[in-house]
């Protein structure tokens, strides 16, 4: 996605002019090469964008927010920890060209690029929730079925999540 600097409209990669206001878009930020899984059907169109209107999660200051962290258990630097901040934590890969500045940045732990630049959101409030925001290779909890993009699920201490091909243990206290 290229966000229009003038009106904020999200435009598809490769477009020359903003669909909404006609502003010239910056020379297409070359997307990060991201090989598809070998068995991926080649003709499946995948929309990979966070819905623009996802409301920010209100964080009550009075409520005691959880403390949560993720630990890589497989498919990356095993044992690496990510302490989550209160509010939204983007899980993805750092890519300034597309405006992806994830809190949980897996750029170094994902040599095969199975993780989308904007892959999932972890929200720390009174509960910890996980939402897939339109990733290519999917998000899974406790090896269950692939999460539906845009539908958050609640996580509890000890859950295992899979993001792309990287496995994490969830700690909540």
């Amino acid at each position: 996605m290229i966000q229009c600097a003038e009106c904020g409209h999200d435009n598809m990669d490769g477009l020359e002019y903003c669909d909404a206001c006609g502003a010239k878009l910056p020379a297409t930020a070359a997307p990060t090469p991201e090989p598809l899984p070998v068995d991926a059907p080649p003709d499946v169109a995948v929309a990979v964008s966070a819905p623009a209107d996802t409301p920010p999660v209100p964080v009550s200051l009075n409520a005691v927010a959880l403390k949560a962290k993720l630990t890589i258990t497989r498919g990356g630097t095993v044992g690496k920890e990510f302490v989550l901040q209160t509010g939204d934590n983007l899980v993805g890969r750092w890519d300034p060209d597309s405006g992806a500045f994830p809190e949980v940045d897996l750029e170094l732990d994902d040599p095969e690029a199975r993780i989308s630049r904007k892959h999932a959101l972890l929200r720390v409030a009174e509960r910890l929730s996980l939402e897939d925001i339109g990733s290519l290779n999917g998000t899974f909890v406790n090896r269950g079925k692939r999460l539906d993009p845009g539908s958050p699920v609640t996580l509890t201490d000890g859950d295992e999540i899979i993001i792309g091909k990287t496995f994490f243990k969830v700690s909540v206290s």
Partner: protein, 435 residues
């Protein structure tokens, strides 16, 4: 890169905005230009079979409009050769055949006198364009032949009754009788005239100053003399994982194809109509490509069907192929020739978006869109288009609407100016095609 195809006397090729694109996890927009260019065949041209349809409503007496019309038609008659046919029809509340093609052949002088006296015809003062079209179509049918260039030239200055019927008449003749439209002043419905011309792949002209009517007739006649192919249409089969976002006619005039949707077999069908020799006739498709693994991929197969003089049912083919790669270095710059047309099509789109925004009262959005269109024409160095758009934007800022006479005139001028494709000079075109 495209696979050029030369069939008989036509060049037809597919050019992508990029030959290589990155294998990415995200959908990617690619512009595909499908361009045909027939070569002139030894000075041979199609004999003409014209129906000239002239508005003789009350308003045509203003600004000496009728005087200029009769000057233009007289000139046209003088230019016709012995193999050409033309009939002349006037309409107001009723239609009257001013001259049949037989009368014109027998006695040009008498027909010229009849055209001069067109102001004396007693046919009322309204604007029944459909009646004029029907009468002219009946005349053209008498000499109809696929080996002729069969066309109506319709000149009007007013809002007609039965718009739907006019459009249906134009559409029904698609592939047989094309229909160029000339709008004079600001009272006519430009959308109707454009759509009638587009329905048959002929031309739309806007005439602000009636003194230019003879000049426009003569340029239309030059174009008619230059037509090398008729009944052209394009079929584009899109590969799986390639979706159509938008489709435009990109040259020689720019307009969006309305309701262009691929069918269940992923086949897109676009009518092009009459095609001039040595003039690029092109279609620009805005495609959305799904992620793929590296490799060469055929995005689309295009077929151009057309009738050549005494050789109907011809076809030329072109394939659009791109390479998906993981190597950023392999992704070169965008094709300058394609991007120039992308720019022009996008600017025309901004202008019509601005018009729609202004019509719904969103003047801020309209002003912003026009501003971006102006930046675009400035980048391209199109001075005339820039001037026209700046005048339109000033008028809009001043009156905060497009209702005034001045604003409407600026709007019609801007539409007509942006509609005409400015081709790159032949040298830079050659380079782009050889890349």
């Amino acid at each position: 890169m495209s696979v050029p195809h030369v069939s008989g006397s036509i060049g037809f090729h597919a050019l992508s905005s990029r030959d290589a694109i990155l294998s990415s996890a995200e959908n990617f927009v690619l512009y595909l230009l499908l361009e045909a260019q027939p070569h002139a065949v030894g000075g041979r041209r199609l004999p003409l079979n014209l129906g000239i349809v002239l508005d003789r409503s009350g308003s045509m007496y203003d600004e000496q409009r009728l005087d200029y019309v009769s000057e233009a038609v007289t000139y046209l008659i003088d230019q016709l050769g012995p193999e050409d046919r033309a009939a002349i029809v006037a309409f107001a509340d009723r239609a009257a055949v001013v001259a049949t093609s037989d009368q014109l052949q027998q006695d040009k002088a008498r027909v010229k006198r009849a055209i001069d006296d067109i102001d004396l015809l007693e046919i009322g003062g309204g604007t029944q364009m459909a009646l004029g079209m029907e009468a002219a179509l009946a005349e053209v049918e008498k000499n109809y032949s696929p080996d002729r260039l069969n066309r109506l030239l319709i000149l009007t200055d007013g809002q007609t009754y039965e718009e739907r019927k006019c459009l249906d008449l134009a559409r029904k003749q698609h592939g047989r009788i094309s229909c160029s439209t000339l709008g004079v002043g600001i009272e006519f419905n430009e959308k109707l005239l454009m759509e009638m011309a587009e329905a048959s792949g002929a031309n739309y002209h806007f005439i602000n100053d009636p003194a230019t009517i003879p000049g426009i007739f003569s340029s239309e006649l030059l174009g008619l003399r230059n037509v090398a192919l008729t009944n052209a249409r394009m079929e584009v089969r899109l590969s799986a994982g390639v979706e159509l976002k938008e489709a435009y006619r990109a040259s020689p005039q720019i307009y969006p194809f309305k309701n262009a949707l691929p069918n269940a077999e992923r086949l897109l069908s676009l009518a092009l109509g009459d095609v001039e020799a040595e003039t690029a006739t092109s279609v620009l498709l805005v495609l959305v490509l799904a992620p793929r693994n590296p490799g060469r991929v055929r995005l689309a197969q295009a077929s151009l069907y057309y009738d050549a003089p005494s050789a109907p049912g011809q076809c030329a083919k072109a394939d659009a192929v791109v390479t998906y790669t993981l190597d950023r270095g392999a992704v070169g710059k965008a094709n300058a020739y394609v991007m120039n047309l992308v720019d022009q099509v996008s600017i025309a789109k901004m202008q019509s978006q601005a018009e729609a925004a202004a019509a719904s009262g969103n003047m801020d959005k309209a002003t912003r869109l026009l501003g971006n269109a102006i930046s675009g024409t400035q980048r391209l160095g199109h001075t005339k288009a820039t001037q026209v758009l700046v005048s339109l934007q000033n008028e809009m800022k001043k009156t905060q609407s497009l209702e005034s006479r001045a604003a409407k005139t600026q709007l019609l001028t801007a539409q007509a100016t942006l509609r005409k494709t400015q081709m790159l000079d032949p040298e830079s075109v050659k380079d782009a095609l050889q890349e």
